[in-house]
């Protein structure tokens, strides 16, 4: 899938990335930890390929998995105290409710650039670099990416 103009611009700002390359070649595997996510959407605006998407749903389960000691944890704890049964699932919220909105990640769209990792303030997006052999790098004409920490 070719990158959009905005995608090329974002990718161009990344260390080691070459604007215009096709996805999947930039080298790291992105893993999301939903329990750490506050739903601010910074990864969404950083993502060049649209692999990160903020949808219109709010998932109480995500809130319940938040670690104790955090602010989300406090809200989750308050909810647990009033709970008569388990939450039934995500519910739809209007556009203007920004915080806690669910972020969806589509691995097949991911270019592995690591922009989301850099953008995420809470460490909810993690990337592990996939080792790429030197020969392969040379063959593709790429500089090995220092992306993805």
């Amino acid at each position: 899938m070719p990158l959009s103009a905005r995608g090329r611009r974002i990718a161009g700002d990344l260390r080691g990335a070459t604007p215009g390359v096709s996805p999947g070649v930039l080298g790291c595997e992105v893993v999301r930890h939903d329990e750490l996510c506050v739903g601010c959407g910074r990864c969404v605006s950083a993502c060049p390929t649209g692999a990160m998407r903020q949808d219109e749903w709010f998932d109480p389960a995500q809130l319940f998995s938040a670690p104790a000691g955090t602010g989300r944890g406090a809200l989750a704890a308050a909810l647990r105290r009033i709970a008569r049964h388990q939450p039934s699932g995500p519910f739809r919220v209007p556009d203007r409710v920004r915080t806690f909105r669910r972020i969806l990640f589509s691995a097949d769209l991911c270019a592995g650039c690591g922009a989301c990792v850099r953008a995420c303030p809470t460490g909810a997006v993690e990337a592990s670099p996939v080792p790429v052999g030197d020969a392969e790098v040379a063959a593709r004409g790429l500089v090995p990416a220092g992306v993805g920490t």
Binding site: L36, G71, A78, R81, I82, H85, P121
Partner: protein, 802 residues
């Protein structure tokens, strides 16, 4: 920064019996006994606002901090503030626990229950105080004002300010001041030339002629022509404005001979024949060179008999330190592409602005008895009041058309002049006489607006329209069509507004702080707006508006800053730097900065992550940021712990309480007035006052559910009229979250948001009583009714058992 006040000397509760009016249902002996605690002194009086008690308050005032924190347990803070104004003006700091309008006066005779509620209200205020801060936001440090735009409004504002004693820089992009008014010719309602200068000398009220007098000559006033704003930095009250001034090039030696204009070989901008041009201004014809078209060939300098022209192209940059900025950049005629459907761009079709320019040259034709057209049709609202083009009414076009029509009939009595209109709007002073004069002058008025202007084979316009007055289809074949196009914000307006951080309204004009009573202020602190920059205005309105703005600026620069606002603070150890608060703050008081090395940070947050900070000088203390923070990292004056503790205490001691969160502005006024009318409602209604509903987050609503509340209502200002701009919408979002979360946990707790203003006080008692009745109804029915009442949200259906 002031210091946060702590209650080291304890709390002094001033228990007031309000002259016995609360004895019916309050047991003051119980209150006095129960409120007393190790750090709490209770002083009970029959009436704390009586003369004798005021003497005691003076004593406490003189004791200062040693008197401890003073808390009046009696009437509402609004009422206390009014009764004790003399003392508060002298520095008495008195908090209030409202057991009168909020308790005794609105409840029945159930003495025990009402006393218990009063006790809880008083204890919540005593034990869980909001943070107070004795600080004054810094006063504007510069006395100087920059007025951007030297049109009618800008010049008037600048002169008013100069006369009030402020040094003023009047920045005008063009070589001349006077703005669009100089291009118009005769104007309504006076029928003479556009701008008269505001008098700067001692003869106030005397009109001065822009063309005859020495321009504006007040010693405080510095006029910078050919000057534009490059950047604005600094904070409100202390701006640094960088301006770029183009060189004059034509010096004072100029004797107005005009040889340079004849010599210039380069065409100027906008159809101007030469790059060097003159305009009647300041008692002479002032010549200026358009730098964009000038080729610096030197022809003009060569022919100048007095060597007044010096071709030095370097622009000068200068920094001005000002306390306030006034945007007076005005408006401009709508671009022609908006009215191409009405034939604009073809021959025989022009705008009113173009007609105005032609009228001067047509005067000569009229003397020769030659009319430029036999039939002229004006089309009103061309492109205006049209959702696809300009959605608003530009207000001036009707009068401009009438003025031109009268002038045309005067010049060419045999010319037929028709005005096609949807509605004629002539609401200004004496405007109706102009309309009647136009009728007398024989101008034909046709109600109906054509959808298009066609051009036939001969190149003549053909207009088909439905004449609504005569209920028939009419075909007009005029020789000339004049389009009354609307007015749009000047380009510079948008640019200047962006530089100073003043937001624009939906139509692109500079947004007024308040459409009703703060029309000359913008949402950016220290930035003011006057004239057509905030919407099209007549010359008379511009002058009034400018004077009003000048008075506001003077007040801003000379009065003290905002007082006693306890700014929110961010706990860097809990902030993850997501930026939700930055987006939420209506005042731009928050920003993200790089985290200092070595500071504590929440687990999982990278060392190089950013952290939010509050600018205490800008913060107004609404608490919207604290509510929007997913990590609860922001501490407001009424922090989460205090608020939740108050909630637990106040909502306790009663079966299924109804919890009401009220804002301290419109809702407080409503409830206080209602209380003074003694409009009764059940004791189980428990009110918690917040500075603004924006302070409320889903967490507080969930806590209310935990406390067994049978219903919750949020009472705030009228929709869109929140005193903190976005508090009501922020609360509405939290209500949506809380409602779904509570429902998903299997609870039924209706949450309603009410928009009140003080005139609603007559109905609020009834509203509370009916709300209490409704939440008591059988579950299924209640849910259905709340879902229906809500309209927008119908998904609250799967309800568990209670």
């Amino acid at each position: 920064m002031g210091d946060v006040v702590t209650a080291e000397a304890g709390t002094r509760a001033l228990l007031c019996e309000c002259a016995g009016t609360m004895g019916r249902n309050l047991d003051f002996d119980v209150l006095e006994r129960e409120l007393a605690a190790p750090a709490v002194t209770v002083e009970r009086r029959a009436m704390w606002c009586g003369r004798e008690a005021k003497g005691r308050l003076v004593e406490l005032l003189e004791l200062g901090d040693a008197a401890g924190r003073l808390l009046l347990v009696g009437c509402s803070s609004d009422f206390a503030a009014r009764r004790l104004q003399g003392l508060t003006d002298r520095g008495l700091r008195l908090e209030s626990a409202d057991i009168r309008e909020g308790c005794s006066w609105v409840h029945g005779d159930a003495r025990e229950a009402v006393t218990d509620k009063a006790l809880r209200i008083a204890e919540a205020a005593i034990r869980f105080p909001a943070r107070q801060q004795r600080r004054v936001a810094p006063r504007p440090s510069a006395n100087r004002v920059a007025v951007v735009g030297g049109g009618v409004a800008g010049a008037q504002a600048a002169v008013e300010l100069a006369r009030m004693g402020h040094p003023v820089d009047l920045l005008e992009r063009r070589p001349f001041i006077g703005g669009r008014a100089t291009a118009i010719g005769a104007v309504f309602p006076t029928g003479d030339c556009g701008p008269c200068l505001p008098a700067t000398a001692a003869q106030s009220g005397v009109r001065k002629c822009l063309y005859r007098n020495v321009a504006l000559d007040h010693p405080n006033l510095r006029i910078r022509r050919r000057t534009t704003v490059q950047s604005v930095s600094g904070r409100a009250g202390d701006f640094t404005v960088q301006v770029r001034g183009l060189p004059e090039m034509v010096g004072d030696e100029c004797i107005d001979c005009g040889l340079c204009e004849e010599a210039c070989p380069v065409p100027g901008p906008g159809g101007q024949p030469t790059a060097i041009a003159g305009e009647a201004y300041d008692g002479r014809v002032l010549r200026s060179i358009d730098l964009d078209s000038c080729t610096f060939c030197g022809a003009c300098a060569q022919v100048c008999p007095v060597d007044a022209i010096e071709l030095t192209p370097a622009a000068e940059l200068e920094e001005l330190h000002v306390g306030a900025v006034v945007i007076a950049t005005g408006c401009e005629p709508a671009p022609g592409h908006l009215v191409t459907h009405l034939g604009y761009g073809r021959s025989h079709v022009m705008t009113q602005v173009e007609l105005a320019k032609k009228l001067d040259s047509w005067q000569e034709q009229s003397w020769q008895g030659r009319a430029p057209a036999r039939h002229l049709v004006m089309i009103q609202c061309a492109g205006s009041r049209d959702q696809r083009r300009l959605p608003y009414c530009s207000r001036l076009c009707c009068m401009i058309a009438i003025k031109h029509a009268i002038r045309l009939r005067e010049l060419f009595p045999e010319m037929r002049v028709t005005i096609c209109f949807q509605e004629l709007r002539t609401p200004g002073a004496r405007d109706e006489t102009w309309y009647l004069a136009a009728r007398r002058a024989g101008v034909e008025f046709v109600r109906g607006s054509p959808a298009a202007v066609q051009i036939d084979g001969d190149g003549r316009p053909l207009i088909e329209l439905e004449d609504i007055g005569a209920a028939e289809l009419r075909r007009l074949r005029p020789d000339l069509v004049v389009l009354s196009t609307g007015l749009v914000p000047a380009e510079e307006s948008v640019e200047v507004a962006r530089l100073v951080g003043a937001p624009l309204d939906g139509d692109g004009f500079v947004a007024q702080l308040d459409a009703k009573n703060r029309t000359t202020e913008t949402r950016a602190d220290g930035v003011f707006v006057c004239g057509s920059a905030s919407g099209p205005k007549t010359i008379a309105e511009c002058i009034t508006d400018a004077a009003a703005a000048a008075a506001r600026v003077h007040d801003y620069l000379t009065s003290g800053g905002r007082q006693d606002v306890c700014a929110a603070t961010v706990d860097a150890a809990a902030c993850v730097g997501c930026g939700a608060c930055v987006d939420a703050c209506p005042f731009g008081a928050l920003g993200l900065v790089d985290r200092e090395a070595g500071t504590l940070r929440p687990a999982g947050v990278r060392p190089d992550a950013q952290v939010a900070v509050v600018d205490a000088d800008v913060c107004r203390g609404c608490g919207i940021c604290a509510a929007s923070c997913p990590e609860l990292a922001i501490t407001h004056a009424l922090d989460d712990e205090t608020l939740l503790s108050r909630l637990r205490l106040v909502a306790g001691g009663v079966e299924s309480p109804v919890v009401g969160f009220t804002c301290a502005e419109c809702a407080a006024a409503t409830f206080n007035l209602s209380g003074q009318r003694r409009d009764r409602y059940p004791e189980r209604v428990r009110l918690i006052e917040l500075p603004c509903l924006g302070r409320l987050s889903a967490l507080h609503l969930v806590e209310a559910a935990r406390l067994g509340a049978s219903g919750v209502f949020l009472a705030g200002c009228v929709e869109g009229r929140c005193h903190y701009q976005r508090g009501d919408t922020s609360a509405a979002e939290q209500v949506i979250l809380a409602r779904d979360l509570v429902t998903q946990m299997g609870r039924v707790m209706p949450i309603e948001q009410w928009h009140l203003c003080a005139v609603d006080h007559t109905g609020i008692g009834h509203r509370l009583r009916s709300f209490c009745d409704r939440v008591d109804e059988p579950q299924a029915g209640a849910t259905a009714r709340f879902a229906a009442a809500d309209g927008a949200r119908g998904s609250a259906s799967p309800v568990g058992t209670r």
